[in-house]
Symmetry: D4
């Protein structure tokens, strides 16, 4: 079974969720993606979450906007690490979803990422870092990934430094 | 069975919940009060909510602070009217719970009241007004309650008007 | 007469209000829609609201933006259940209307929905749920409506689950 | 009759309202103070406001907290200048009342002052400045009042300047 | 000389300021419009403001965005009634200007209107209402203006009421 | 060496950090606690963080208030999972630290917990859940911990249910 | 004459201003402290600011709360570096003053520090760093000051590290 | 070497950074521009910052969005004056970056400018004003720059004043 289970509250969230999937693919981490609503399909969420651990899932990532209860509801049904990505939608631009995801009461943690795209990407990376704790090969890939990111910045730095001075 | 079911996320919320109970008692509306956490006892919430309608409950009121998912989780398990009262706790003073309660996605409504005490009182009154739709005696009591409130304001107005003029 | 009375503060709000009307039509609930401003036509608001109950109206829904006083003003003239939908308009995107609608003082409740479109749809559903308390046929329709929503999500889930895995 | 009519939503607001009365007394401007709630006593608000102009009232000041509809409701019943003072109460500390008072739609202005004490004082001063437009003696008193304020600051400046240097 | 002096902080604010001018023209109230920046031309602001009263100006309106100091700076140089209109500009959409205009300290009031367009229109109406205190003809025009606004709403109400019912 | 490294920005944060330590002790997870400031001791932060992985540390938790850069700075020096706990301090009550911790750019994730006490407790639990991915005994303890929490809620529910009904 | 001129809007701000003075004294930087209000004593502010440069002042620091116009008004009268410290006062806790100080329009910069105490201390340090640009002895003192701060943190780190491990 | 060092967190920030460069060019102040990320290239940031003072850099300006740690991280490695420009990016429009840049703890100041474009321009001007403290020719240019800005406003004032009066 997949190592990481992704659950989004609505399939309109797919473009952002795919940024997370892209990272997982890049690291060769297996995942499964679901569309399940905390409010419209609460039983299906419970089924998906409670069957995750027995199936070998190690990390669950929940994506939701507005009153973004999904990551917290996922966390209520599992002791696996749950990562939450608040999504931005008008009119409050994700401030509502950020508060709903991050302000979990003591006892039921949700590891909250930034709102929207950077959060989706980072949810993937953070899931990888969790798996890497017991997987040295994956840990090495993370180190390499960082080095590549660094090189890209330094390369842009050279370009800008050469052209921008007065 | 009781007409109104009250569920709070933590018994530390009791003082605010009692303001709601007080209103229901004043109107002679039967109620039952539970302490159930959306995150710590998700199955017990589902049991309480799904058994409510068969037991004759007509309205459910959920009280919660922080990432206040409880009213939304209640609403995901019933088509009864669900009233949500966001509670204030530091450091965000209820702004987090307000957003978590009110910003429900289309399809699953939660009737949100003001944060804290005025919201708890109004949740009781709103539950009464729902029951009063099919209960003329209760509707008459609501009219009387309003008249009493009005008289109190007008009586204070007389006192202040007499003493404050320049 | 209609079971539900809808009042919007300005006819520029019509597109959002129609999302509420659409739900009511879907459930076969009769409604009447008015354009009345709390500030520009206060007497007409009072007339419409005070004549509602004698005419058989059972629930009133108010829609307003900016300093959205309309739902609260409606509630000041009736003991019928009043639902408020805060509308988003620039520059504060509905944060102003949310606070103006939801932060009602103790004694005069307004059942507040999410800002804008999801709130308009949910106002319709919540009105139906109030009427359904004393109308088993309507209550059954609500259960069916939920089931249909659930099926739509589960169907999308199948599609996504099939295509998104790595 | 009094030149200025003060209306507060609740007599718990009296301590702040008295800061406004104090200013009016200082300028010898006549006033009358009422306790009337936009939501609990809407008809009494209308009566007080519509009878104000015929009685010679020239400016009305409304004080309110939470979903502070009172100043807007006053303005809906008169073309006299209406000044609004948003009051701070927990948990949102007056942000709710500020938005409810200031974000009036085009057509019905409310002259909004700062939240709480400074706003109450300034409401008194602003009412005086309106009356002073057609009252040169009052205008002269305002100039004198400013000069006194300035002298107080300059006197404190001397004290601090003498003691604080390094 | 003009009865009302309008000062905007930048001529990019002209489209909003013209909504205010439009109201003044409609009421036949004379006005003069200036572009003066509190920060770039502080002395010119002082000159314009201190010479206003001797020239017969009765009300001053200041329009500004961002750290909108202009209305407060105007108020520091005159005891005439000063109206402030906070303007919306990205990225904070006028929340910055609203706070800068409305949160004046005790002693120096600025009558704050809504952010942007509705505020500009209302600033014009509020200036008219100040002048109307001592001008019965203008007061009568204000009453007529309200009646016309009311008729427009009621006419739209008829149209909507006829078409929207279910 | 310890499995979890805790770093707080200032020793005034100790009372909150101890809530995290308490959880780790309860689970028998080894930890080491440091006081290092991102801004005052940047080199010591780098030393502590870069030496963590070679020493066997598997998870790092950063606690910080105000412009809470510490968790992000920690994350910039390691590919280990980094958990961030925003702390509340006046005047912005942790809104500043929440944004500083959670809004990390794509590439460098910080798993953000709730502001203050519940976040500190949950940081401990989340660290345990990460370690439990490869440690079945620890995973079993987490399941037991949840069951105990649930029992406490259900026990309080019985007490309240018995006393609160009307 | 003094190198640094401090101006606060009200002498109630003295306790916070003294935290800035304390830093300046520690560095042996001469300063002069004034109490001048942007709104109550605009001419005195102009006099103090325009005479500063001729008197040898090199940096000006403005402290203000609420609609904190003082630093911006100071900046409008000088091309010297102006540092602004927003002060926290209820009910908005300095959010109003932060926006009023920092959101200056292009052309007139104010170097804004954190709200309240840390900002006052940092205003002193930043003023020192400006003077240190052309004063190597002062620059050396700043380096020493940093080293001392670092040592204090490292010493507390040792204490905590010894006692807090599990 | 250059007098001013500009560091942006990402080269997507270039358009805003160029507004700062434009000002520096206008004043003939030498600068060098880098692209370095606090999180992706922490060591390169340290190298650039610690080598700045020995190379003759006198002021450093950091530009960053989201959890904008860059200016604070720069300040942790130098006692040179550090100016921070928070950049606006969706969904929080720079509120996150403003808090991350301005709310620095006591001891490590960052001189914060307005969010985005006006802040970038003002960062340039503020850097010039720091250099001007020990450079009378530059100080004279600043005075001239102000005079030119003032003339532009007064010229627009003439145009508007001529056309806008009623």
């Amino acid at each position: 079974m997949a190592d990481v289970l992704l659950i989004m509250g609505s399939d309109s969230d797919l473009p952002v969720v795919e940024e997370c999937e892209h990272v997982l693919k890049e690291f060769g981490v297996s995942f499964s993606t679901r569309v399940l609503s905390a409010h419209r399909t609460p039983d299906a969420v419970k089924d998906a979450v409670t069957s995750a651990k027995p199936s070998g899932v190690k990390v669950i990532i929940g994506f939701a906007g507005l009153a973004a209860h999904l990551p917290g509801v996922i966390a209520s049904f599992t002791t696996l690490p749950v990562i939450g990505v608040p999504l931005a939608s008008p009119p409050l631009n994700g401030l509502d979803s950020l508060y709903s995801v991050v302000q979990m009461p003591g006892g039921i943690p949700v590891a909250t990422m930034a709102i929207g795209s950077p959060g989706a990407k980072n949810a993937g990376l953070f899931a990888v870092s969790i798996l890497a704790v017991a997987n040295p090969a994956l840990a090495a890939k993370l180190v390499q990934y960082r080095a590549t990111m660094q090189d890209k910045v330094l390369s842009r730095d050279k370009t800008v430094q050469a052209r921008h001075a007065g």
